[in-house]
Structures are given as C-alpha cells and as structure tokens.
C-alpha cells in the first residue's frame, strides 16, 4: 500500500484499478454545521476510501470533524459538496434499509434501555434483515449468536443490560453492530470509556474481524500510541482535510504530529519492530 503524505491543496491520485472497489468512499466532501445563521465549516475537502478488510484509524483533534466524517461515510448525513459512494453507488441511491444491511455504526455513547437482556439488544441489530412478522428466522438467531461470539460477549447473553460494566456494555454494542452483518463497521471513539485492557481487546477484536470476515472498519481513535502500534492505516484530519493517509510509521511523522496535535512526540521501537509514538510535551 502506498503511503502518501498529502500537503494541503493537492488531491490524491486516483487509486489504481487493481484495487477492489471501496466499500465507502468520500470524494471531495465538504460539510458545515448551520444553526440559526451561524455556519461552522467542519470539512473543507475530504477524500477517503475504505476497502473491505482494511482497518483505518481516523485521527484528529477535537472538533476536526472525525465524527462528521464517520457519519458521512455511513451515509447518515449528506455532504454539502462532493459525494459519498457506497460500493461504488452514490449514497443517495441507497435506501435507508439497504444501507443498514451493509453499514453498522457504533456510536460514542449509547444508553441501553433498561429491562432488556443482552441477547434482545443484540437482536435489535437484526432489524434491517428482519423478514418475519413476529418471530426471528434461524438466520437471525445464528447471526446474533455469531455476533455475540465475535464480540466476545456470549457469556453475557442472558444478563440484563443495566447490570453491565462499561467494558461489557461496549462488547454488547459491538455485538449489536455485528448482528447487522455489515460490510462496513464505523466506530466513533470506541475506546474512550474503556480501561486499557478493554481498549486493546476492542482493537484486537475489530482487527480480527476485518481479517477473518473482510469487514471494512473505520475507527476514530484519539490515542496516538494505540494508533501507531495497532492499526495498519491511519488517516489524519486537520482543518477540514485529510493531511495524512497511510501506514502510521510512514505517515505519522513527528513533524505532522507537532503540526496537527500541537504536541511533541517521541518515537521508539517495540521489540517487534513497530514504531511507537508517545507524546512528549507541548513545548520543545
């Protein structure tokens, strides 16, 4: 995979035809939030393509538009300019139901309604596929089971959701997303409320899934260390554009980190030869 650091103002070359079609692709996408006459431009011109089997870590400072980009890639909102294509088709051509069968979103925070059991909540993820009026098909049941297994939450299946810890809840949410049997999985800062072990476990899980099931995964990450060591590709958003897109050891230069994140970074190498970035201070 070519690693390119894209200076602002230039566009990225078209991907070669040898690559498979992107699952979700943003082309020259712009987006602004408008409220009562105030306009806040969040994305100016963003190009990003995600393919099956990829795990992309989306990085950027607060307010850089990571969540917005995620929602655009999910075709949950429309861009002000540019276009979004899902499996090559413009997002506008997809019906909501069709989208839900292919794209799953794990929000940053989700309150689970009390009184349900984990398996019932995960089963809600089958809504886009539901075919029978009042019962679930065998495929539905199998999908729920598989989702729980993949998310490492099978032992939680009968538990009431209000009894879950933060990490357990995160796993249940992942399972619910997986129950949709998506081709694209979008995670919005999934590690924010987790302790270290669960953060690592989550990344491992999605990494495993993209490899074994060919799911395309975009995860918004805020932890540079995690991003630099555990994902194969990062995309960095800054001032409304993608300023870096590629393997972290190539793309996440210390210069970029200082420019975008306003921190100095130290680098080190792990025993496996991976480059590790750690914030070192705000002043040099």
């Amino acid at each position: 995979m070519t690693a390119i650091e894209v200076p602002p103002g230039e566009t990225r070359p078209e991907p070669s035809t040898a690559l498979p079609e992107p699952v979700s692709e943003a082309r020259g996408v712009a987006f602004a939030y408008r409220r009562r006459g105030l306009v806040r431009e969040v994305l100016v011109s963003v190009d990003l393509a995600v393919r099956g089997g990829e795990l992309v870590g989306l990085l950027g400072t607060n307010g850089s538009g990571k969540t917005t980009l995620l929602r655009l890639l999910a075709a949950a909102v429309r861009p002000d300019a540019g276009e979004i294509r899902i499996f090559g088709r413009p997002a506008a051509n997809w019906s909501r139901a069709e989208l839900a069968r292919r794209v799953a979103v794990l929000p940053q925070q989700l309150e689970l309604p009390a009184g349900f059991r984990v398996s019932e909540v995960v089963a809600m993820g089958r809504l886009p596929h539901a075919s029978r009026l009042f019962s679930s098909t065998d495929e539905d049941d199998a999908a729920v089971e598989t989702a729980l297994l993949d998310a490492d939450a099978l032992d939680l299946a009968a538990r009431p959701v209000e009894e879950l810890s933060g990490g357990e809840r995160q796993r249940v949410l992942v399972a619910m997303a997986l129950a949709q049997q998506p081709a694209l999985l979008l995670l919005d800062e999934p590690t924010v409320h987790l302790d270290l072990a669960h953060q690592v476990a989550l990344i491992e899980t999605v990494d495993r899934l993209r490899q074994s099931r060919g799911i395309a995964v975009v995860a918004v990450l805020h932890d540079l260390t995690l991003a630099s060591t555990r994902v194969e590709r990062v995309a960095v958003l800054d001032e409304g554009r993608i300023v870096a897109d590629g393997a972290p050891e190539v793309v996440l230069s210390r210069d970029l980190v200082r420019r975008v994140f306003k921190v100095a970074a130290d680098e080190a190498w792990t025993s496996e030869g991976r480059r590790l970035l750690a914030p070192a201070g705000t002043r040099r």
């Binding site: 009390a114 009184g115 349900f116």
Partner: protein
C-alpha cells in the same frame, strides 16, 4: 478467540421463548374472558352466572337453550351490559396500547395517550357538541348522524382529538426539534384548548353536569353503534402497531442509532403518532376522557414482563381491556361513580407499590 467449549443454548440467544410469551398472552385472554362474563353478570340488577352465559351463548353464538330467564334479564344483559363491557374493554385495550406506543416513541415514562393533545381536543369537540343546542340550535344535527349509529358528540370528539394531534405535529415539525418540542407543543396546545373547554363549561349552565360527566369517563351511553364506529379504527391501529414492534424497540436506542439501523425516524414517528392517536381519538370519542389506564398499564406490564414490545403491546391490549372492564364494574356497583375516578383509585396506589418494589421502572443502563 474463545474456545468452543462454552455451550450455546439456543434459548439464550433466540429472544423471549415462545412458551413464555404464549403463557402471558394466554393468561391475558383467559383473564379477559372471565372478566367479560363476570362484568356482564354483575350489576345493580342481579343475573346469575349460569343465566348470563346461557344468554350470551344463545344470542352471540346461537347455542340453543331453553329460556329460563326473563325478558328483562335478556335486555339488560345483551342490550345494556354487553355493549358497555365490550366498550370498556375496547377503550381500555386501546388506551393501554397507545400509551405503550407513546412511551416508547417519546422515550418518556410519563407519556400517556393524551400527551400530545388528544384529550383536550376531544373534550373541546364534545363540549361544543353538548353546547350546540344552546349556541346554535340550527346546527344541532343530532338526528342527522343518528343513522350511522353515533351522535354529534362522538363525531366532534373524534374530529377534535385527531385534528389536535395533526395540528400539534404540524406546529412541532415547524419548530424542528424532536421529541421534546413535540411534548412541549402538545402541552401548550392542550392548555389552550382546555381553557376553551373551561369557558364552555362556564357558559354551560345546567348542561355543566353532562360535560363534566363526559370528562370523567362516560360509559353510560355505550351501545352497539358506537362500538361499531370505534372498533374498526382501534383494530387498524392495533394491527399496524403490533407489526411494528421491532421499530418501537429500536426507537428506544435513540433517533441516531435507530436511523443507523435503517429506520426512517421522522416518518416512523409520524406514522406511529398518527396510528396511536387514531385509536386514542376513537375510544375517547365513545367514552370520554378516562385517565390512568394508558399511563399505568404499560408501566406495570413493563415491570412484570419486560420492555420488549413484541410482548408488551399485545399484553397491554389484553390487560388494559380487562382492567377497564373491572374498573367499570366497580364504578357501576358503587352507584354510578365516574369510571375515571375508579381507574385513578386503582391505578395510582398499585403503581406506587410496584415502583417501591422494583428497582427500575424506566431507566437506562
């Protein structure tokens, strides 16, 4: 990856077991049947259970029987009590189901079927109808609608209820705010309409008692004509709501997540609101504004059987119907007390008791 040593019982994963659902719904049907027989048999004129079932079987199912009962007993059972009890059941079931729907739709535990204006609109319609002979004698067209089996009061109440919901929805959509805006708009519009009702009550003079009685729940005039008007509307609503149980579950996850799961949230919200309001307006039109059933029954059932709408909706229908029929029986035996008073007296303490006994009636994990 976890080893495959962990057993995976299907029952854990497949959702609520059919036997549990069957048991709950089956007991609901059974309770309803028993309540039907008892409520029709009991009243200020006593008819034995044996005679009651014989009359019902004879007139409803055509079961031949030697007539051991008086003509009056048959009139009372079949022409007076049966339509009344059936009306109470239709109203109770409809209100409970609509209440469950609104509670999910608005994600608000205090939601009842009247929350976005049905009650105030229907009350205004009914009050105008009651006042028509005074306000505009030329418009008192009571006999004109008699051929459909219902009177001006029912028509105006229905129109008032449904019309108000439409107006509230239109206003709230204009403000583009989501559930909170809808709730607040409903509250504001209800207040305005209630003020008009109060004004009419002030002008009512000796008709005040009639209007007030309607507001407290008026099953007195129950007859087959009104049942025939309301039942199909409630039936349509029932079918639509029952089918959409998955979406109601998913809406509990929030608008954003529901949209990600493929739900067209604005359209779904509109459809559910209209359908639930259709049922609510229909039953309010024939029975006045009976409170508490729509609020308490879904909550109590949620505590008892869980929030899954696949079960909650039909259970609300069955047990709401039974509750109101029992409340009406109590109201009749207590000398014709308004049934709304009885539902409040039954509903509130029971609800409080359950609240105290359970950890959470509504909450988030």
């Amino acid at each position: 990856m976890r080893a495959a040593a962990v057993p995976r019982p299907r029952a854990l994963v497949g959702g609520p077991s059919l036997t549990r659902s069957g048991l709950i719904l089956g007991s609901g049907v059974l309770v309803l049947l028993i309540v039907l027989i008892v409520a029709v048999a009991a009243g200020s004129y006593s008819v034995g259970i044996g005679d009651t079932t014989a009359i019902l079987g004879h007139r409803l199912l055509g079961i031949p029987a030697t007539v051991t009962w008086s003509r009056e007993a048959e009139t009372i059972i079949f022409d007076l009590r049966l339509p009344r009890v059936l009306t109470a059941m239709l109203v109770g079931g409809g209100l409970a189901m609509a209440g469950a729907t609104f509670q999910a739709l608005l994600r608000n535990p205090l939601a009842d079927p009247y929350i976005i204006g049905t009650a105030s609109g229907a009350s205004l319609g009914a009050a105008i109808a009651f006042m028509l002979p005074l306000l505009a004698p030329a418009l008192a067209i009571g006999s004109a609608t008699a051929w459909i089996g219902i009177g001006v009061v029912q028509v105006l109440a229905f129109v008032g209820g449904l019309g108000t919901v439409l107006a509230v929805y239109a206003i709230a959509r204009g403000a583009r705010g989501g559930t909170v805006t809808l709730l607040l708009t409903g509250y504001a519009v209800s207040s305005v309409l209630a003020a008009f009702v109060a004004l009419l009550m002030h002008l009512a003079g000796n008709r005040l008692g009639v209007i007030f009685g309607w507001l407290m729940g008026a099953l007195d005039g129950a007859d087959w004509g009104r049942l025939a008007m309301a039942a199909p509307l409630v039936g349509i609503s029932l079918v639509v709501l029952l089918i959409r149980w998955r979406r109601l579950n998913v809406l509990l996850l929030g608008d954003a997540q529901a949209a990600h799961l493929g739900v067209d949230v604005p359209r779904e919200r509109l459809m559910l609101t209209m359908v639930a309001s259709l049922a609510t307006s229909a039953v309010v039109a024939i029975s006045g504004t009976i409170g508490f059933v729509g609020l308490v029954v879904p909550h109590v059932l949620r505590l008892a059987i869980g929030p899954d709408h696949r079960l909650l909706l039909p259970a609300s229908l069955l047990f709401g119907a039974a509750l109101l029929a029992v409340a009406d029986l109590g109201a009749r035996l207590a000398g014709g007390v308004p049934v709304g008073v009885v539902t409040a007296l039954i509903g509130a303490p029971f609800f409080l008791w359950l609240l105290v006994r359970s950890r959470a009636v509504w909450g988030a994990a």
